[in-house]
Amino acid sequence: MANRKQLFEKAESWFESQGWQPFAFQKETWTAFLQGKHGLLNAPTGSGKTYALWVPIMLDYLKRNPDFTKHKPGLKAIWITPLRALSVEIKQAAERLVEGLGVPFEVAIRSGDTTSAERAKQSKKMPDLLITTPESLQLLLASKDYPNTFKNCSAIVVDEWHELLGTKRGVQMELALSRLKTIAPNLRIWGISATIGNLEQARQVLLGPDSEAYENSVLVKAVLHKKTNVISIIPTKMESYPWRGHMGFHLIDDVARIVKESRTTLIFTNVRSACELWYQRLLDKYPEFAGEIAMHHGSIDRDVRIWVENAIRDEKLKAVVCTSSLDLGVDFAPVETIIQIGGPKGVARFMQRAGRSNHKPGKESLIYFLATHAIELVEASALKKAVEKNVVEDRIPYLNSWDVLIQYLNTLAVSDGFFPDGIFEEVKSTFCYQAMTREDYQWCLNFIVHGSQSLHAYDEYKKVEIEADGRYKINKRSIATQHRMSIGTIVSDAVMQVKFFSGGFIGSIEEWFISKLKPGDVFQFAGRQLELYRIKNMQVLVKSATRKPTRFASWMGGRLALSAQMSELLRQELYSANHGKKSPELHAMEPIFKRQRKESIVPEADQFLIETFKTREGYHAIFYPFEGRFVHEALASLLAYRISLLEPITFSLAYNDYGFELLSDKEIDMQSVIDNDLFTPRFVHQDLQKSLNATEMARRKFRDISVIAGMVFSGYPGKTVKAKHLQSSTQLLFEVFRDYEPDNLLLQQAYRETFEHQLEEGRLIQSLERIASQEIVWKQCKKPTPFSFPIITDRLREKLSSETLAERIAKMTASYMKGTA
């Protein structure tokens, strides 16, 4: 086997035997790969991207091993997937090809779902092709003699790179690649990404800026015209549309009709709680769906998840209610129809979900959009425009994530140990740490060795030790085990396992939800009615209940915010409400606009709307920048802080994607807010930093950071936490650091992430500049307007106050239950 032509013929004849034709982008990728290039493949789901890379990996092996029918042990290639749910189909695709080419390769999966027996077997004898997750790859780097495992590995493919790019798992990937480049000299690095705004940067992050790999790389774009049809589910009677809410049950009959008319349907919800509720309501109202529909989300036991994935693929199920756990598409999976419930908050995500329907190259995709409340129909209308115009978002990569670096250094110390100088060069070659100084690096080393920056004072801190030859190593077994267990926790919240009292694992649930329940309470989880029996050792013991649940399991995660591009489209859409030709969605909303105009206005492009009114709850002031939740969060704190400088006042803050509210027990002098130019973009950073809210947000960011950096050991799903005495709330950790070590890099990182990723300072300044150019329209209303309703009823709130603690307490009360002694 020598030249490329012969190799291509072999691949093409296999394609033909499957009844397919290779696409141009597939062949382009094959060529680049065989030329020894690295690269990024931009291809949507359902396009045949899997074989764009499995094929040349195999061809390259054939080229270099003419005796390929004879098996040589050792790892040849790694396929990274961010979601475990995808690994099965990637494995099947690989096996199909391996078999077709007659190469005796073993293909295996290694992820959090892999049993320990299976993992041990793999450690002894690695499969030829390994499909794994970023976390499991890190775990491989934490095992003894790992360089030997990777030395002959010639390819690594990072699938769905866009999903990893703006996350800390992406940083984990960057660090792992920096190590693999050294220990696997023949490695070719490829990423696969859906369309995002910053594809060029995505390639740079994957391969390392200015790296040899980057110089020798290509960007391949799959140009596939795949039509996406977006249909809004609009009720016939608009009056019945709720002003607020996020469930959309009033349209349940339409959903049921679509499910019945379609062979297979995926119903996407944004959060797991909505997933639970929709599943239950569908079954309640349509008992005939029993056995035909199922539920899929990240907290459900893996066996159930795998069963559901297989069942929908084999059309044993008619519909699956799911969350982003089924977000990413796999090639050649047959789902006929997609329903999206609630705003998907981003074009890329919406497109990807749409791509799950009629998941075959060249065919049309069909997605129904169900707006859960009236105002969301504007979003539907904007989304349709976005799909038409191919608008896409950027994914912003992290910089200087010290928590991930500390975790990584501990990982290397757990395995064979490391020498800091060599690792410094590797780490600095990544995008994330390109600006890292020697001092920063030394800080991290001191942190893992001494647990502090003052080196002399002896104490009992023990983690990483420096051996006589200068090697950094973790020798204590318990610390090594603890570290390995914590690698997977990079994305998870504090979770507790839910188990039957009689035995049997049901799934995991966020701790804060359980903390609201008392024994005897009935809640719904994983489609079951469960009675809380007791909580023990981080396990929630439950019994089956026949009573109706009073609470539904919910999760904090997944409160998504509109992207900058989406908000821009949304504003344009809304501003068009007063003029000319309207989309069907806006047309349907006319009764709502009428109500809105009665009390207030529907703003024009050059107007900035402020509404004030009084209810039993206090004095409401609502502002409408239409910039997305995150920007509103920042704007609300900023404005509340600036107003609080004018007079002592206490606010509670609420926000959604359309605007934000400042609620107070006394009236805001709005005229002085306008006169004092409180929307000025000047001094934004200083003012934000001083607003109490930034501290609160940093406190929440610190929670994840402290878990990743190994300061909180939360155990591992599936295992009992024995180190209960080591658990402490990260809240307390934050306070200890703030009071005693304010220059701690991890603490500073919490603030930096707050400003860059949470508050999106850049976007904030842009929107303030926009507001400065608009005419401020202040409407004093008699009662809440339709626009204000979803905001003022939001229960998740922040606070900001310039009154003293004593002043505030004087006005507050604690409440007792009547009838108790």
């Binding site: 942190f447 647990g451 502090s452 003052s454 004072a457 104490d459 009992e460 801190y461 023990k462 983690k463 204590k476 318990s478 610390i479 603890q482 039993r616 709850e617 206090g618 004095y619 206490t650 509670s652 609620l663 107070s664 027990d665 190994g710 300061m711 909180v712 050991f713 005495h725 080591l726 402490s728 709330s729 809240q731 307390l732 950790l733 306070e735 200890v736 650091f737 009071d739 005693y740 070590e741 701690n744 009823t793 709130r797 606070k799 603690l805 004593a806 505030r808 307490i809 004087a810 006005k811 507050m812 009360t813 604690a814 409440s815 007792y816 239950m817 009547k818 009838g819 108790t820 002694a821």
Partner: protein, 222 residues
Amino acid sequence: MTLEIKIHDNHFVLHASGAVFWKEKNMLLISDVHLGKISHFRKHGIALPKTAFTGNFERLTSVADYFEAEIICFLGDLFHSKLNKEWDLFEDWINNRPENFLLIIGNHDILKPEKYEAVGMAIASELKVGPFLFTHEPEERDGYFTFCGHIHPGINLRGSGRQSMDLPCFFQSKNQMILPAFGEFTGKWIMEPAQNDRVYAIAGGDIVKINMVEKSKKNFFR
């Protein structure tokens, strides 16, 4: 900074540190200091700042100097874990104090009795003086008013404009006073008061008696 209350004709001064001073007996009550917690975490590879453990001693010194009591009684959970370096610091501290010391043993106090005796601290599982009972865990016993700790009480306050905050507190029911945790880095448990309970919250440097209202069914649309 302080607030004086009367129980069974005796006078008790609540201090913003979480301590209680019993005037008639010249006795200072302190609960749940949890010394050694920082070191305990560090020993297990969790890098809390080393400087943090000086905070507890500074606060102990400050409240002890303020009242100049004859006896200091710890209501349990004085030392958080097995022996570590913070115990040496505690030895230094206690050796330089003029007071007498008594420890009511709490669930965290697992050191050998000799260790406490070596620094001249008496230990007991509970203490009875007149109508008063001193324990670690809350307990209502006929004929006694109990002072105790253990649960680190806190209270949730609400106000108009959807305000809400949690504060550590002294929690007094008919025959019992639960002290807040004195130690730093200890956390709190939010109590659900009954009608006649009294709550004294610690608000920065002040003690504030909290106004109580009957719990209403929360409904935005009322």
